[in-house]
Symmetry: none
DNA sequence: TATGAATGAGTATTCATTCAT
DNA sequence: GATGAATGAATACTCATTCAT
């Protein structure tokens, strides 16, 4: 069993070192944001010298990209697993939508710190921006595909579009709300948060499953 | 030595100087973001010495708070005026909601640069965070009150809550969408943006004016 | 007398500070070469903070360019003065040439440390290279013009060219010799140095004032 | 354990490895100068680990000394061969001198990159400086001895000295000219370069073979 | 009161050298 | 011996803040 690994104790240690670096950077990013992350602090926390960090990454930006990639992969797995857990329950649309919204809400709340950091990073680094958008698109796809499995229950004529809009609106409202500060469980506004989740479920469901054709907006003078 | 009047022109000049400082900082914040704003550059643009700036504010953060306050006041006025313009048209709910959503969308797009900057600032400065939330609450109130003037057309049983939720959802979705990059007029995604506005209007209207009681969330096993 | 200056004691101090910076950098460059010059050391020696240095120059390279400019100006004045001192003596060519060579030799020896530093700098910085070449061309011109005042005594048919070649050869041989280490007065090789100066004078004089037409190089097989 | 022969292939491999190291360092020195040479790059190019390099040399400076030694040996062989080739032609002085100058010029141009690097190195490392001087003296000796074979054609009374001076002057002028930038074949100044070679030949020849006694320096007032 | 030159702590990055494997 | 990952001192440069004038 061990003989296969015996050859690379150095590689193992090296790998562990770098993992500590990423972990430290990930932690700092979540706890103190972009400005709280300095290479000196990462080096101190991870007990890895600055030079060693530079053996693995090309620059601070590069390190942050690695952090982003790892966190997003973990998040994607988590989200996929969550979506599949719901999928297996074969819920009817009227139960599926609120459930999905609730799970998305909890998912976002868990990762709000990193997501905010990545958005701030993205303002400076095009790679982070692109990767972030791709991950977002992937999440949107998972969400949409699950909804579309119940498309027979849709009333909205354009199934793809309706599902897509639901994600955009729900994700946006949740992310915005979290960004405004309801980030700690049990904190103030916990009631509002639960209420928002419920309302978003209702709203999304209405958008998908009710006949809104009679509500079509007025000619709209001011625009 | 000199009459009390003598002080006035000096105070006036001083006031004008400081206005130029705020203006320069406001411009820089919108154009280059938080990291593009240095006191040296603000001093250069406003033709006011760094020392003089420090006579009026305690720190760079303090200056940014002042900028935030002024910008938010201006935005609040603008938003109020917009809301009142719509109010005077006495639109029925089915026209009011999409109109209001459309106007809010345009309003947010105009100010997206500053709003993003304030959010980034808020991540570092609790005062900015608090003030930002208060302004947001004020905007929410204006929005809500206008909707409530048509409460007789609501079907949702809890009028206050329904109106509030509409704002939260619409604002969140719009802000998120803008923050992700649809910031330049006529750019890619302009179609999506218009579609989002329309959908949000529809969704909000449905939430307010349709009977969703039959859609009440499922037993909700997961979560 | 002092009233005129009284207005700018700050500017004076500031000027003095920067002079100390340049002086420190100039010293370090001469004594320890390019690698011995760090901004930290310049700051330490000049008692001027690093930040203050950066108020005056854009970068370390920029500082070195300023140093080069100042040193070259001083050298140019010195060289011009020397050339004119000789000019006034109205020497015949056979005295003029060895005198000029001797003075150029002493001039170069005085400044060999800086000249070497500037050459090394020029390998990295195109501006330094260009400025250095211009100063060299100026020196060459002064040298040439003085020689040409005795062109009636030339035998070489192409006066301009002959004078120019004399400078190139004399300067090159002297600079090379100095670069190889005869930099401290009274050191080893002092005899050789004096001999070289004498020989260069002789050689240059021969080139200008003897009929070399009979010596024209053979067809030259290898080349 | 193993026979004495067993060590040989290992030593051979080791020797080959180190040769690759020297070769890589030599290349880098010529192509990118002193600052472009890092041990990491030498290791990468030579496929020899940094640790192994440090088994053979004590420091980076030490490595560069080895490089210098090898390059100078090769140059010395090349120069000797060239001198001997000319020697066999048994040219009269008036052909020998320009030929020798021309060949020296081409020789220096071929090696200008390394020579410049060694000069820069010598500014930091006394050993490099000393070794460089010795090699230079050896080259001077070869040059001088060839000239002295035609001493019967000399007019200059001090044969040894005259030959030595010729080398000093010619070498200095050529090296200086090359150092100032005429390093690429066919580039600007190619004409000047050829002219310089011709003039140096003429000048050297005049110094050796003309009667300059009548030109003896003036009373030399300014010294 | 206004000025802006001066400060210097703090940042990312490089690279010769070491040493556990 | 050979390896190359790890080290960390050193460097150029930035910018919020201060204070003598």
């Amino acid at each position: 069993l061990q003989s296969t690994h015996a050859r690379s104790p150095k590689q193992l240690r090296s790998r562990e070192s770098f993992d500590r670096v990423i972990e430290a950077a990930t932690d700092l990013l979540a706890k103190h944001g972009i400005d709280g992350l300095t290479l000196a602090e990462v080096s101190r926390r991870s007990k890895v010298s600055i030079g060693s960090i530079y053996c693995r990454v090309e620059s601070k930006n590069d390190l942050l990209r690695v952090v982003q990639a790892r966190v997003l992969v973990r998040m994607e797995h988590e989200f996929s697993a969550m979506v599949n857990r719901i999928r297996r329950r074969r819920l009817p649309l009227r139960e599926l939508v609120p459930t999905l919204v609730r799970e998305l809400a909890q998912f976002l709340r868990r990762h709000v710190a990193h997501l905010n950091a990545f958005i701030a990073l993205g303002a400076r680094d095009a790679v982070v921006r692109t990767v972030g958008r791709k991950a977002h698109a992937q999440t949107a796809l998972d969400f949409r595909l699950l909804l579309l499995e119940r498309h027979s229950e849709f009333v909205h004529p354009d199934h793809e579009h309706a599902a897509s809009t639901c994600f955009t609106v729900v994700y946006g409202a949740l992310a915005r709300y979290l960004g405004l500060g309801v980030t700690t469980e049990g904190g103030a506004g916990e009631g509002d948060w639960k209420q928002l989740i419920e309302d978003l479920g209702l709203m999304a469901l209405a958008f998908l499953a009710l006949d809104l054709s009679g509500m079509a907006g007025a000619p709209g003078a001011s625009g």
